[in-house]
Every structure is written in C-alpha cells, then in structure tokens.
Amino acid sequence: MPYFTEAQARSIIRETYESAKGEDRCVAQALYTLQELSGLPEGAVMLAFGVGNPVRHAGLSPGDVVLDVGCGAGIDTLLAASRVGPNGRALGLDMTPRMLELAAHHAASAGFANVDVHEGLMEALPFADASVDVVVSNGVLNLSTRKSRALAEMHRVLRPGGRVCLADLVLSENLPEEIVKNPTALVA
C-alpha cells in the first residue's frame, strides 16, 4: 500500500541523507573486512549505510563495467573500482547531490580514475540499454516505492548475460500500521 507518495518518500530520503553524519565505523566494520576497508578514505567508511556486502559476491572481473545503484558516499563503488581495475569502470548512481559530491571526492582522494558518479533515480537509470556488465546495490531497493520498476531498469541496463548482486532488507511478515506510516521508519 502506498503510505507515502513517490515524491514524499524521495523527499524524506533525500533530506535524511543530505544531513546524515558519519558517526563511527560500526556499520562498515560489521559489513566489510579490515582488508576491504584498508586504503579506503575515512569519509567513505564513516558514511557507509548499507546492509550487506554485495561487491564481495558480485564476481567482478578486471575490465567489467559495474553500476552501484544508490552509491551514497561511495564505499561499494570504490570497492568495485578496485576489483575492475583501470580497464573497467565503476559507476555510482545516487539521487542525493551531497552524497554524489562526497563519492566523487572519495574516489579522487583514493586515486581511482575509473569512477564516474551520476545523479538520477533508480526508477529511471540514466544509462543506455545493455551498457553495464554488473549491477550492485546495498540496502537501497527497499527505499523505492516502485521496486519492480527499479528492477526492470536494472534489467534494461544490463547487457545480456549480465549479473545483479543486491543486498537488502526483506520482510517475513507485514509490518504494523504505525510503523509503515512512520517517515523515520521509511528511511532507517
């Protein structure tokens, strides 16, 4: 059921992430190994808001073009960038301008020349059909009010034989009414 309009949901999410502070490394340490985190800019680590580690399981190869949907401050984009190497590309997509600036900054400060950030919506990916080898996404799909469309878009941009590796929250039963109507619960 649509408890929020698409516009309302996006507005709540954008506002939250525009002002999100990276308080500590707890999320990152829970999801990534020390080895994965070493060499990453502090900002990217502190602003990790994912729920899993999709890049680890995505089977990335050097030369791959990989898209990180909802890249935030870029931690998964950077991890992907290091796996695909200089002949590959890591594309970060996000709808929050502040996060994109941070992701670009983090890529530059870590010395990655193979990272591009793009502003846009997961429901309308600004990429051509069949232009990407792998899509990764970390705790982002749950924020969409049209998940099927976001998935259809991922399918569209993937070349035939491409792969998706998502980490996200799944419900095993319906949430109580007071939670689904709560804006904080939408984002958190």
């Binding site: 059921m1 649509p2 049209r146 998940k147 099927s148 469309r149 998935l151 259809a152």
Partner: protein, 209 residues
Amino acid sequence: MNTPDAVPLAAPTEPGGRAHDNRPRFEALALPHLTHLYKLAVRLTGAAPDAEDLVHETYMKGLAAFPGLREPERIRPWMSRILARLVLDRYRSGPREVAVGDLAELDRFSLYDLVWDEDPLPYSDDLHHDFLAQFPDDEVRRALLALPETYRVPLLLLYVEDLSYRELAETLGCPMGTIMSRLHRGRKILERELWACAKRRGLVRSDDR
C-alpha cells in the same frame, strides 16, 4: 408524483379486480419498461433465452399483482423487484458460480493491494488503471456472473437501478445490515475473480497468492 398517462388512470383497481379489466392499464404502464427490464434480466442471468423467460414471467406476475400496486408511477422499480425475486427463487446456486469460501478472508481481499505488490506493469504511471484496461469486456461480465445470485442480484440492482440500501432491503426482503455485507462481499468476490482471471491470462504470476 403523478404524471399523466396515455391511458387515463381511474382510481387504483379494486382488490380482486379482474385481470382482463386491468390489462390495458397494466400494459400501458408496464410495457414501456420492457427494454429496460430485458437488459436487467440479461445482466442478471447472462443468457438471452433465460432473460426472455424471466421477463415473460415477470410480466405475467406483474399483471396478477397489479391490483396491489399503490403507486403506478413507481411501476418500473416494482417490476424490477418482481424480476429480482424471480432470479433469487429460480437461480439458486448455478453450476458456474464460485464457492464463496471463508467469509472473513473474503472481506479482507484487496485487489488494490495485490496489484500494488505484484506491480505487473513496472513502467506504468497509472498502474491500477492500466491493469484494469487489460481485461476484455467478456471477462468482466463472466466475473460478474460468477457471483452467487445472493450477491449478484443486489449488486446489479445497485448498479443498474441505482437503488438505495433501504430500497434494496425492501426489494429483497432482508435487513439493511445484510444488504451492506452482501454488497461488500459481492464486490470482493468480483475482485477475486478478476485476480484469478489475471493469473489465468498471464497478466500476473500464477504462483499462489
């Protein structure tokens, strides 16, 4: 409201007035509504021959009951009521009607939610509208006819005759609370039938929901 009629009305016919005396007045009042009643009968039964029989019998009963009609200007709802009662009496649980099943579960059925969750048209910006637009007319009619007549009759009277709940209660001889629950459940059965149809036609996945 008394409107002038082609055949001048005397005072309401006397109780026990003879059929052949009443016939010209009855015909003058009732036959203009034949097209309307026939359409209602087809919508109620789904079959032209059944509808013809039904309408035929409605007029026979109408003539016999005519002396009791106090408000001649309300002859159309009066005839519709006779027709509806005939359907209820005659068409008990037809073979193509669906079993209603668990009523509490039925009450909670929501085609809206199922379409929202399934999202079979991801690129549609008016999902529910576009979903409904995929159903051909005959499937919608079939879904309606799949309702047991207990639910189909009040729903069609609501749709076609635009009767209030009070009028429906009088027409069908049951309490308003019953009318309310039948109209709710009738629509829910309809939603359930449309969803089943969508699954059959591959408009949505058919694993069990």
